[in-house]
């Protein structure tokens, strides 16, 4: 009886479990996904719900340490030097932080990936021009580039995204090109050509899907780098300007009070870490779940090392 059910399950697995069931089977990925959902909620509704609380001063709660709720549950994570709720500020800051980071890495990935595909597949002159452009961006200290650009333009969210995206493009470009150079020599690309696939068809239908998981992995790593870069710019005073807040800016501001009120820098730092960590965990899960050859690792019944 048990064997039949195992067999049935094996058949069901071979036909592919739904995304849901796959995710439920991996508790760590599930936690990461839930955390990211929570963050998404904060991004979408946070400033509307907690905007007032995040700016309300409460001088009696100045530098209130975390853990007490005598000033209301919003003060559970303590309060900053002006007595504003840390929790509310973290929630409100999530929108700026995550949208800047996400949009700039997405833009960088799309531009870098596209140029990398072209540089790798078409090569020759066009490819050389693209690679030298990438060299130029890379040879420029990215912080200096950001300072110059943001000094000339205004330090607004949009400009910040552009600057951060530009500095991240080369890593996507190089990785994509390297992968394409390898993939285009594979037999299935020849086979697609032999069956009449056009250049664009081969590039977007056959090569891109093979490169995509790698890009996704870089994207999640970059996500953290960009968040930190943004906080660095904020620290220099050319990033996001108060009263706008981001986690990076909160870390930068909290650094001055580290000896009296560690929680000012600690919690935003923790938020950055958890956001990055869960993005990494989930992307790792996604990479395996979307790879037909690796997928069985998630589908195989737990327990016993078969």
């Amino acid at each position: 009886m048990a064997q039949i059910t195992a067999e049935q399950e094996a058949v069901a697995i071979r036909r592919g479990l739904s995304w849901w069931r796959l995710l439920l089977r991996d508790p760590i990925a599930l936690v990461a996904a839930l955390w990211l959902c929570l963050l998404a909620l904060c991004v979408l509704a946070g400033p509307e719900l907690f905007g007032k609380a995040a700016t309300a001063l409460n001088l009696r709660a100045r530098n209130l340490p975390p853990g007490s709720i005598e000033h209301g549950w919003l003060m559970i994570l303590g309060a900053d030097t002006l007595g504003r709720s840390m929790l509310a500020r973290l929630i409100v800051a999530s929108r700026n932080t995550l949208s800047i980071a996400l949009i700039s890495v997405l833009v960088a990935m799309m531009i870098g990936g596209f140029l990398g595909l072209i540089a790798g597949y078409i090569g020759r002159t066009v490819g050389n021009v693209i690679m030298r452009l990438s060299d130029i961006i890379q040879s420029f200290p990215s912080l200096l580039l950001a300072v110059v650009v943001l000094y000339m333009l205004e330090p607004r969210v949009g400009n910040l995204i552009i600057v951060l995206a530009i500095t991240r493009i080369p890593s996507y470009l190089r990785v994509t090109r390297a992968e394409v150079l390898e993939i285009r020599e594979r037999v299935f690309v020849d086979a697609a050509r032999a069956l009449g696939g056009s250049r664009a068809h081969i590039l977007f239908r056959h090569i891109t899907p093979v490169v995509a998981p790698t890009l996704l992995t870089i994207l999640t790593v970059d996500f953290a780098i960009v968040m930190l870069a943004e906080s660095g710019l904020s620290f220099l005073g050319i990033g996001i300007q108060p009263p706008e807040i981001t986690w990076g800016l909160m870390v930068a501001q909290g650094r001055n009070h580290l000896s009296q009120a560690w929680w000012l820098a600690f919690f935003p730092g923790l938020a950055i870490m958890f956001a990055t960590l869960s993005a990494n965990v989930l992307s790792n899960w996604l990479r395996i779940a979307t790879d037909p050859v690796q997928r069985w690792r998630l589908e195989a019944p737990k327990g016993g090392d078969a």
Binding site: R14, R15, G16, R186, V187, F188, D190, A191, A192, R193, A194, L195, G196, G197, S198, H201, R205, H206, P209, V210, T290, D291, P292, V293
Partner: protein, 331 residues
């Protein structure tokens, strides 16, 4: 098939070189053969004899550079393939001419289901409706003998056995009903029973569609079984060509003769096999004169210095050997 029909594909005096740094490898040095509509031509030769390179050149899959087409012509339905704009040729690939590769696992995209890949072929060639394309894919899988095609269409290449994978590859190649199918060692990676099944399948499909086939192989048995004509390649040249029965029955080139003698035969009573001595030439520095002379037991002084002429030993039989007539008569 009438012998005087216009050839579907004609390869004339094809020369392909690979140039890298200081070295030039002369992979193909004047290969010539032709295929008429509906017939099966085999290209027979050992590893490195230039048969796969010739096939890649026909499909225009060679990377140029490092490859260079140094001379010769490929004509498909009278059109010069090598002079045609690549886009135009690609549009005809799949519809009029298609290819089956040796290693089907490598030739299928690992990240898509086989059903999707076959459907994609239809979409790339103008099928608008995704549903229809998928239905045709399933139909095609059934036609090449894959059991439970509806469910198997949802599987990925690595989930198929070697023989089934080659069937999928064949399904893709014949999907648009090409006039010519190039099969590059389609059964080399498979075990013997599966080889026979795949060859049967190819022959059935060939009859059904009425396509011609170029079978590239080093397997004499397969050639004897399925081919109408054979071109024997050695060191980048077609050294002998003609009808299969004639060539294998009464070879006119010492190399063909030596190949036949190196194959075990049931009828012959316990005569030991006669292997071909030596090894294939280094194509970066091919031997002078006839490339086969260092390994040939018929070789004379003439063979070392002079490239042998094409000798017509019988109607429809050509061999490139100074001693073709004596081999033909005495062998």
């Amino acid at each position: 098939m009438p012998d005087n029909a216009a050839p579907l594909l004609e390869v004339a005096d094809l020369k392909i070189e690979f140039r890298s740094g200081r070295e030039t490898v002369y992979a193909v040095n004047g290969a010539g053969f032709s295929v008429r509509p509906g017939e099966t031509a085999a290209i027979l030769g050992e590893s490195g004899s230039g048969k796969s390179v010739t096939a890649s050149a026909i499909m225009r899959l060679l990377q140029c550079p490092p490859a260079f087409i140094a001379g010769g012509a490929i004509r498909f339905k009278g059109d010069d393939v090598l002079a045609m704009p690549l886009n135009q040729w690609r549009r005809r690939c799949g519809r009029e001419i298609a290819m089956v590769f040796q290693d089907a696992l490598a030739a299928l995209n690992p990240v898509f289901t086989v059903g999707w890949q076959i459907a994609e072929l239809f979409r790339a060639h103008g099928e608008r409706s995704g549903k229809k394309a998928e239905a045709r894919a399933v139909e095609l899988l059934a036609r090449v003998g894959i059991p439970d095609p509806v469910n198997r269409a949802r599987d990925y290449p690595h989930q198929f056995s070697g023989g089934m994978r080659q069937r999928v590859m064949i399904a893709m190649a014949i999907a648009l009903g090409p006039d010519l199918l190039i099969a590059d060692e389609p059964t080399t990676a498979l075990d013997v029973t599966v080889q026979a099944q795949i060859m049967d399948l190819l022959q059935d499909l060939q009859k059904e569609i009425g396509m011609a086939m170029i079978l590239i192989t080093h397997d004499l048995g397969v050639v004897a079984d399925v081919a109408d004509h054979v071109a024997v390649m050695y060191a980048g040249r077609v050294v002998e060509r003609g009808k299969v029965r004639d060539v294998l029955g009464k070879p006119a080139h010492p190399y063909t003769l030596a190949l036949l003698e190196s194959v075990p035969q049931l009828q012959q009573n316990s005569q030991s096999l006669r292997p071909i001595v030596g090894s294939p030439p280094d194509m970066a520095a091919p031997p002078s004169g006839c490339a086969f002379h260092p390994r040939c037991r018929f070789a004379t002084g003439e063979c070392k210095v002079k490239l042998p002429p094409k000798v017509a030993v019988a109607p429809g039989r050509v061999a490139e050997c100074h001693h073709a007539k004596s081999v033909f008569n005495g062998g």
